[in-house]
Symmetry: C3
Subunit: 200 residues, 3 copies
C-alpha cells in the first residue's frame, strides 16, 4: 500500500516537473531532467545530507522507470492537462504526505532529534520542487505564499505528538498522512495562504 502511494506520488511529482519544464520551452532532455529532479530531488538532498549514499534512486531502479513513464505521459497529454488538473493535484497531494513520512522515517532510523526529522520530512516532500524552480530560474513557489511546506511541518509535529501516546506504527503513518492530505485539500479549497513579509 505504502509502496503504491510512493509510486503515485513520484509519478505526480515527475509530471508536474515535466509540465513546468515545458512551460519554459525546454527540449526533451531538459524536460526529463526537470521531471527527475522534481520527483527525487528532495530525497536526494536528504540522503546526501545524512550520508545515505549512493542515494536512494541509484539503488532502486523503480524510480527511474516510474519517472520515465510520468515524463512520457506528460508529453503525450501535454495539450490536455487543463482537464487532468484535478487528478494531478490529488496525486501530488498524496506525494506530499508519503514523502514527508519517508523523510521522517529516515531521520528516526539514524536517531536524529524530532526537529531535525521534521526538517528531513519537509525537505523530502518540498525541495524537489525548490530545485525544479531554481533550474527554471524562478524564485521557488513554496517560498511565496503557497501553504505547502508548512503543512509538512504540521504533519511532522502531529506525528511526534501521536508517537508520545505509543500509537502503533501503522496508525501513526495513516493519521499523519491523512492530516497532511486533508489540510492541503482544505488550504486549496479555502484559499489559505501565508502573508508575504516586506521590509519596506
Amino acid at each position: 500500500m505504502f509502496q503504491l502511494l510512493d509510486i503515485i506520488g513520484t509519478m505526480a511529482f515527475a509530471m508536474s516537473g515535466a509540465l513546468t519544464a515545458m512551460n519554459k520551452k525546454m527540449d526533451p532532455f531538459g524536460v526529463f531532467i526537470i521531471a527527475f529532479v522534481t520527483a527525487v530531488g528532495g530525497g536526494t538532498l536528504r540522503d546526501i545530507m545524512i550520508g545515505r549514499t549512493p542515494v536512494g534512486w541509484m539503488l532502486d531502479l523503480k524510480y527511474v522507470y516510474v519517472i520515465t513513464i510520468g515524463f512520457a505521459l506528460a508529453i503525450i497529454f501535454r495539450k490536455k492537462f487543463d482537464r487532468l488538473r484535478t487528478s494531478l493535484f490529488l496525486f501530488d497531494t498524496i506525494g506530499l504526505g508519503v514523502f514527508t513520512l519517508i523523510g521522517l522515517e529516515k531521520g528516526i532510523n539514524i536517531g536524529l532529534h524530532p526537529i531535525i526529522c521534521i526538517a528531513l520530512g519537509t525537505m523530502t516532500a518540498c525541495f524537489g520542487g525548490v530545485i525544479r524552480d531554481i533550474l527554471c530560474t524562478e524564485i521557488p513557489v513554496i517560498f511565496r505564499n503557497e501553504i505547502y511546506a508548512t503543512i509538512c511541518i504540521l504533519g511532522g509535529a502531529v506525528f511526534f505528538l501521536l508517537k508520545k501516546f505509543n500509537l502503533e506504527s501503522d496508525a501513526l503513518y495513516l493519521i499523519t498522512s491523512l492530516v497532511i492530505i486533508s489540510v492541503r485539500l482544505m488550504a486549496v479549497k479555502f484559499k489559505w495562504y501565508l502573508p508575504t513579509l516586506e521590509n519596506k
Copy 2:
C-alpha cells in the same frame, strides 16, 4: 569565546538572509529557509563535500535555535534595519572570520592540503550567501566586485604562513580572525573593490 563568536556570526548571517528574502517579498516559510541557508549553507556544503555526515546542524540543535531567534528578530525589527545596519555589518564580519577558521580547521583535521583547507574556509564563510542569492534568483553578490571571499582566502594564507612559525593554536586563531575582520572593515571604509572582467 569561540563558541560565542560562532553564535553571533550565525545569527548575523541568518538576519542578513531574512532581510534579503523579505526584499523579495517571500512568505514566512521562505524567509526562514533563506535565513537558515544563509547561516548554515556554507558549512553544509563543506560537510557534504568532505563526507562529514549527518551535516553539522543536524547534530547540534544550537544552530536551529539561534537561526530561529535571528529570523524572529529580523521580522520584528524589519522596518528599523536602516538604523541597525552598522551593528549587523559588524556581526556579519565576525561571522566571516569565525566561519573561515571553522572551515580551515575541518580540512586540517582530515589531513587535506593547505590550498584545499583555504577553499573549505572560504566555502564555509561565503557559500551560504551564494546559495541565498541563487534561491533569490540573483547572481551571487560575492561574484560581482564585492571584496569578501578574497578576504577569506587572504586570511587562510596568513593562517598557514603563521603556522609555519609554530605559533600556538590560540594565537593563530586570534591573529587570523583579526586579519580577516580588519581587512573587511577597511575594504568597506575605503571602498576597495575588485574590478569586473569583461571580454567585449
Copy 3:
C-alpha cells in the same frame, strides 16, 4: 594518454566557464569560481551522490592547478577568443568524451546498474555546465535544444553494448570516446538539435 585528455578537458571546461562569467561582468573571484565549478562541478555532484568523499579534486591538486591555468589563459586572451573558438570547441568535445567515461567507470566500480552508470557519466560531463548556468541565473543551455547530454547517454549505451561482446577495456574506452566526439562534431556541423516541447 587518458590522463592527458582529462587535463585537456578540464582546462577547456574551465576556460568556457571563465568566458561565460566574463560575459556576466563578474569580478576575478567570480570568474575563478565559475571556471572551477564548470570544470569539476559535474564530478563533484557525482562523488557526493555516490558517497565518494572527500570529493575528487580535494585529493588531487592537479585539478586546482589546471583550472587556475585555464582561468589565467581565459583572462589573458579574453579579447581574442573569437579566433580561438574552434580549438576551444575541440578541447571541450574531448572533455565531453573523457568525463563521460570517468563517470561510467566510477559507477561500474561500485557495482551500480548500467542505467545508473550512464546517468553518472552524463552527470560528470554535463552538470558542471548546469551549475555554471544556474550561478549565472540562466536556464541551463543543455536543457534548451543543444544536443549535448543526449550524446553522453548515447555514448554510455554504446559502451555497455560493446561490453557485452567482451571487448577489452582499452578498445572499449577508445571506441566510446570516439563515438561521443564524432557525434558531437557532426551535431554541430549539421546543426542537429532537439525540438523544444511546448504545452501551449
